[in-house]
C-alpha cells in the first residue's frame, strides 16, 4: 500500500519542480475540460500558450504580457510577504480599487492643469489609498484580534460599491453625456501613465513591478525584517522568542501589500484602463493570490508566475475570439492550476513510499 513519509527536510528539487509539474498537469486536465466543451484540446492549449508568444500577432501580444503581468506581480509580491508570515490579506482586489480611485481622484482634482508633479502625486495617492484600505483589517487585527481574512474580503465588496458610487457621482465625467465613468486619463497628459518605450508595453507600473521584485528579494534574503517575516510564518512562537513584535509585522505586511495593490490600481487606471468606471476591476486582486502561490511566495518565482498567468489571460482572450472558448473556462483553468500546485506541493515535504504491510 502507498504511504506518505515525511521527509527529514523539504526537497529542493521538488520545491522547484512542482510549479512546472502543476502547469503540465493543468494543461492535461484543462485540455480534457476543453474537449468536454467540444473544442480541440491541443488547438485550445496551443492557442493559449503558443499564440501570444510566437503566433502571427505576437508583436501585438508580447507587450500585453507586461501590461497584464505587471499588476499581477505587483500585487502578488505584496501578498507573498504577508502569506509568508501567516497574515492572510485576501482583499487585494479592494485595495486595488481604492488605489485607483484615490490616484485617479488626485489627478482629476488638478484637471485641466498641466504640471510635472501631478503624476507623482497620483502615485503617492494611489499607494496611500491601498495602504489605508489594508490598514483597516491590520488595525482591527492588532487592536481587537479580528480575523483579517474576513475583514479584508468584506472590504472588497465595500470598495466595489465605492467604485460604483464615484463612477456615478464624485468622479463622473461632467462632459460624459450622462454616461457613468470618469474623464479618460489617457487624454490628460499630466496624469497619463503612458508607454515609456513605444510598442513594448513598458509603463511605470512595469518598472514598479520589477523594483518590487528586487526589493522583496533583498528584504527576504538579506534583511532582518524579511528573516522575521519568514520566521513568523514557520514558527510563530520561535519568532516571538527571537524578538519579533507580531503587531508591527502585521501592520507592515498588510500595509505593504495594500500599498502595492493600490499602486497597481493607480498604474492601471492611469494607463491601460484609462478611466474609473463601474467595471474597472477585473479580478487581478484574486488572480494575484494564485500568482503568489504559483511563484512559491518567492519574488523571482512570482515574477515568472505573473507572466505565465498574464499569458493565460491573453491566450484565453484569443481562444475566446478564435475558438469561442468561454471566458469562464479560463477562470476554471486558472483555478485548476492552484489546485494542482497545492496538491503537488506534498512532494516537497513528503515522500511517497510503497510498503508491503496490510493495514496501517
Amino acid at each position: 500500500m502507498i504511504v506518505l513519509e515525511k521527509r527529514p527536510q523539504p526537497s529542493r528539487v521538488w520545491s522547484l519542480a512542482t510549479p512546472l509539474v502543476a502547469v503540465l498537469a493543468t494543461m492535461i486536465a484543462g485540455g480534457m475540460l476543453f474537449a468536454l466543451l467540444g473544442k480541440n484540446p491541443i488547438e485550445a492549449i496551443s492557442t493559449i500558450f503558443w499564440e501570444p508568444l510566437f503566433g502571427e500577432f505576437a508583436f501585438y501580444y508580447r507587450p500585453q504580457l507586461l501590461v497584464k503581468g505587471a499588476p499581477l506581480i505587483l500585487i502578488a509580491i505584496g501578498l507573498s510577504l504577508g502569506f509568508r508570515a501567516g497574515i492572510w490579506n485576501i482583499g487585494a482586489e479592494g485595495q486595488y480599487i481604492m488605489g485607483a480611485i484615490c490616484g485617479a481622484g488626485a489627478g482629476l482634482a488638478f484637471y485641466p492643469l498641466d504640471a510635472f508633479y501631478i503624476f507623482p502625486i497620483m502615485v503617492i495617492a494611489g499607494a496611500l489609498g491601498g495602504w489605508i484600505w489594508a490598514m483597516i483589517p491590520a488595525f482591527l487585527k492588532v487592536k481587537f484580534g479580528t480575523n483579517e481574512i474576513l475583514v479584508s474580503l468584506m472590504l472588497v465588496y465595500v470598495a466595489e460599491q465605492m467604485l460604483a458610487s464615484v463612477s456615478l457621482g464624485l468622479l463622473k465625467n461632467p462632459e460624459g453625456f450622462g454616461f457613468p465613468g470618469s474623464r479618460n486619463l489617457q487624454s490628460y497628459d499630466s496624469a497619463h501613465n503612458a508607454e515609456l518605450i513605444a510598442g513594448t508595453g513598458m509603463h511605470w507600473g512595469v518598472v514598479a513591478a520589477f523594483v518590487a521584485v528586487i526589493f522583496a528579494y533583498v528584504l527576504l534574503n538579506r534583511h532582518m525584517l524579511g528573516f522575521h517575516i519568514r520566521l513568523t510564518g514557520e514558527a510563530p512562537r520561535a519568532a516571538k522568542f527571537a524578538g519579533v513584535k507580531p503587531a508591527r509585522l502585521i501592520l507592515f505586511c498588510l500595509g505593504m501589500s495594500g500599498a502595492l495593490a493600490g499602486l497597481a490600481g493607480l498604474f492601471e487606471v492611469s494607463g491601460p484602463a484609462g478611466q474609473i468606471s463601474i467595471d474597472f476591476n477585473v479580478g487581478y486582486g484574486f488572480t494575484a493570490i494564485i500568482v503568489a502561490f504559483l511563484g512559491r511566495l518567492h519574488p523571482v518565482g512570482i515574477l515568472l508566475a505573473g507572466l505565465l498567468m498574464a499569458l493565460t489571460y491573453i491566450g484565453g482572450e484569443i481562444a475566446q475570439g478564435s475558438l469561442g472558448l468561454p471566458a469562464a473556462a479560463i477562470q476554471v483553468f486558472q483555478g485548476m492550476l492552484l489546485f494542482f500546485l497545492l496538491a503537488l506541493d506534498l512532494l516537497t515535504n513528503f515522500r511517497i513510499a510503497i510498503r508491503k504491510s496490510e493495514v496501517a
Binding site: 513519509e5 527529514p8 527536510q9 523539504p10 538579506r222 534583511h223 532582518m224 525584517l225 528573516f227 519568514r230 520566521l231 514557520e234 514558527a235 512562537r237 520561535a238 519568532a239 516571538k240 522568542f241 527571537a242 524578538g243 513584535k245 515522500r351 513510499a353 504491510s357 496490510e358 493495514v359 496501517a360
Partner: protein
C-alpha cells in the same frame, strides 16, 4: 486474587518495527506475567514507545507475533486492544482540554453509559483508589497530577487485564508518586498486570517485579529490579559506564538577576499565572527550579527571556530594571534563554541550522549590521556550535527538524552557551536526551557557572537539579517557594516545596 500459573498474560515474540533510517524495535521478545508489575526500561530513543504502541494497536509490527493468554493477539486498532483488556495511560497527547472529565473518559471507552451514570461511576472508582476527581470539571483547568488521574480512571473503568503506563511519574511530586504506587500495588493485588515504562531506576526498584531493558531497539537483558543495583541497570541501559559531571567549588559574586513581586497572567488559555514570585541569582550560582509540569515553568521562562513583558521593576539585571525590555535588547545585555519546546519555540523546524543560529545569535555574535544579515558569519557560528557541542548532522544547511531530539537540544543549548551569557535561563535542558548528551549539557552549564555566569535551570528532573544546582526552589501553581541551598535537602522537603500531594489521599487499601 487469581495468580494463574498457567502461563504469561502477554508474550511478545520477535517484534520488529523499522522506520526509514532507523530500526525502532529489533526482534524484541519478553513475557508479562499475570498480576505482575513489569518494567520496561530504556533511554530516550531506545524504542520503548514504539513497542507499547504495537501492544496498544497504534502501530503494526513489521514482523513478530504477540500472544494474549496463549491466543494470537494482533490488534488492528486501539479499540480492539481495549476490547481485549489492554489499557494505556499516555505520557502526552491524550486529553482534551476543552472537554470535561466525564467526556474525556467517555471518549476512551467503547460503550460508555449515559453521562449521569458515568459521572457516578467516576466518583465511585476514583474514591476507591484514592484519586478523587470531579467528573464535571474542565480538564484544561486541572493540574498535571489530576490530569493523570483522569487517564488512570479512564483505564480502570474498563477493568483492564494489562495496564500500560508510560513515564507516569514525570508529572508528579514525590508525595504523589507514593500515592500512585499504592494505587498500582492495589491493582496488582487484584490481579491486574502492569507494564511500567520508565528510565528512573529507583522507582523501578521499589515497584516492579520484573524488568526488561531495551537499548537501541533491542532487548539487552532482563532482571529482578529489587535484586539488582541501580548502577548495574544503568549500565545495561546505557551500554557503558556513566560519568557524573564535575562540580568544582565556586565563589558566588554579586546578585545578577533579581525578581521581586512578579505577578503576570498567563498568555495562553489554559496556562498558569505567576503569582508574587521572588528570587535572586548570583554570579556563578546555579539556581534549580523544580516543580511538576504546568505549574508556570513556561511562563517564568517567558518573563525572563523578555517574551512576556512585566512591570519594569519586577525583573532587575545588575540592579537595572529590565521588565519592559524585549528579547533582542535583553540578549544585548547578556540575558539568554533556551526554552523547553525545541521545535517551534527554541528553533524553527523547517529552517536550516544556520538560520536557527541567526535566530538568537544575531546581536551578540555580530551577525547583522543595520538590519542587513551576514549569512556567512551565521554559518560560521552554526558550525562552531556543531563542533563544540558534538551535534550530529551532515552540516549547517540541514533543517532543524531533521536532527534527532538530543542533537537539536545540544544545538539549542550550545547556541546560548557559546554566546557567553551573563545570565542563562534554561527550561528542561536534557528532556528527551540520551544519558551521554545529558551529561555533556549539564557539564556545559556547570562550566558556564564556573566562569561567573548566573544560571537558572528550570527542570522537572529532580535528580538533575540535585546534581548541578547550588540552590533549589519549586514552582507550584504559579508560586515559587523560597530558594534553599541544595545541600542537605531531603526528598520529603523537596516534595513539600513542590506542593505535596495536591489534595490526593492514600488509597483505602
Amino acid at each position: 486474587m487469581t495468580n494463574q500459573s498457567s502461563g504469561p498474560l502477554l508474550s511478545l515474540k520477535g517484534l520488529t518495527k523499522a522506520y526509514p533510517g532507523v530500526v525502532a524495535n529489533d526482534t524484541v521478545s519478553f513475557d508479562i506475567g499475570e498480576g505482575e508489575v513489569h518494567a520496561l526500561l530504556g533511554e530516550n530513543g531506545a524504542g520503548k514507545s514504539t513497542l507499547v504502541k504495537m501492544i496498544y494497536g497504534l502501530v503494526k509490527p513489521d514482523s513478530g507475533v504477540m500472544e494474549l493468554r496463549g491466543t494470537p493477539y494482533a490488534p488492528a486498532e486501539p479499540r480492539q486492544a481495549r476490547a481485549d483488556g489492554i489499557a494505556m495511560v499516555f505520557q502526552h497527547f491524550s486529553l482534551f482540554d476543552a472537554l470535561n472529565v466525564a467526556e474525556n473518559i467517555a471518549l476512551g471507552m467503547e460503550n460508555p453509559p449515559a453521562m449521569r451514570d458515568l459521572a457516578a461511576r467516576i466518583r465511585e472508582v476514583s474514591e476507591t483508589y484514592g484519586l478523587p476527581l470531579d467528573p464535571y470539571r474542565t480538564v484544561g483547568d486541572l493540574s498535571a497530577g489530576e490530569r493523570q488521574r483522569v487517564e488512570i480512571i479512564r483505564c480502570l473503568l474498563q477493568d483492564p487485564k494489562l495496564l500500560i503506563m508510560d513515564e507516569p511519574t514525570s508529572v508528579l511530586t514525590p508525595q504523589e508518586v507514593e500515592i500512585l504506587f499504592q494505587t498500582l500495588q492495589k491493582l496488582r493485588s487484584e490481579g491486574t498486570s502492569i507494564l511500567y515504562i520508565s528510565h528512573k531506576l529507583e522507582e523501578i526498584r521499589t515497584l516492579c517485579d520484573h524488568a526488561t531493558i531495551l537499548r537501541l531497539g533491542k532487548n539487552v537483558g532482563e532482571c529482578v529490579p529489587s535484586e539488582t543495583s541501580a548502577r548495574d541497570m544503568a549500565e545495561m541501559m546505557v551500554g557503558s559506564a556513566l560519568q557524573t559531571p564535575e562540580r568544582s567549588g565556586r565563589e558566588f559574586g554579586d546578585v545578577a538577576m533579581d525578581i521581586s513581586g512578579l505577578s503576570v497572567p498567563s498568555p495562553s488559555a489554559f496556562g498558569t499565572a505567576l503569582k508574587n514570585v521572588h528570587m535572586t541569582v548570583r554570579k556563578g550560582e546555579i539556581l534549580g527550579i523544580g516543580g511538576v509540569a504546568g505549574n508556570g515553568q513556561d511562563e517564568l521562562l517567558g518573563v525572563l527571556s523578555g517574551e512576556t513583558l512585566t512591570e519594569a521593576d519586577a525583573v532587575k539585571l545588575h540592579g537595572q530594571p529590565i521588565g519592559k525590555i524585549g528579547p533582542t535588547d535583553r540578549r544585548a545585555m547578556g540575558v539568554l534563554a533556551a526554552p523547553e519546546e525545541r521545535l517551534g519555540h527554541a528553533a524553527a523546524p523547517e529552517m536550516s541550522l544556520t538560520e536557527n543560529a541567526m535566530l538568537t545569535g544575531s546581536v551578540r555574535e555580530n551577525l547583522e549590521k543595520n538590519g542587513f544579515l551576514n549569512w556567512g558569519a551565521a554559518q560560521g557560528f552554526a558550525e562552531k556550535i556543531i563542533e563544540a557541542f558534538d551535534v550530529r548532522t551532515p552540516g549547517p544547511e540541514n533543517a532543524a527538524r531533521s536532527l534527532s531530539g538530543g542533537n537539536l537540544q545540544k544545538f539549542v543549548i550550545g547556541r546560548e552557551v557559546l554566546q557567553n551569557p551573563d545570565v542563562l535561563v534554561v527550561n528542561q535542558p536534557t528532556w528527551g536526551v540520551d544519558a551521554a548528551a545529558a551529561a555533556a549539557i549539564r557539564q556545559s552549564l556547570l562550566d558556564l557557572a564556573a566562569k561567573g555566569c548566573a544560571v537558572i535551570c528550570i527542570s522537572q528532573d529532580l535528580d538533575e537539579l540535585m546534581e548541578i544546582a547550588d540552590s533549589f526552589a519549586a514552582l507550584n501553581e504559579g508560586r515559587l517557594s523560597a530558594p534553599r541551598p541544595t545541600q542537605g535537602l531531603t526528598v520529603d522537603e523537596i516534595g513539600l516545596m513542590m506542593g505535596g500531594a495536591h489534595g490526593m489521599e492514600v488509597a483505602h487499601v
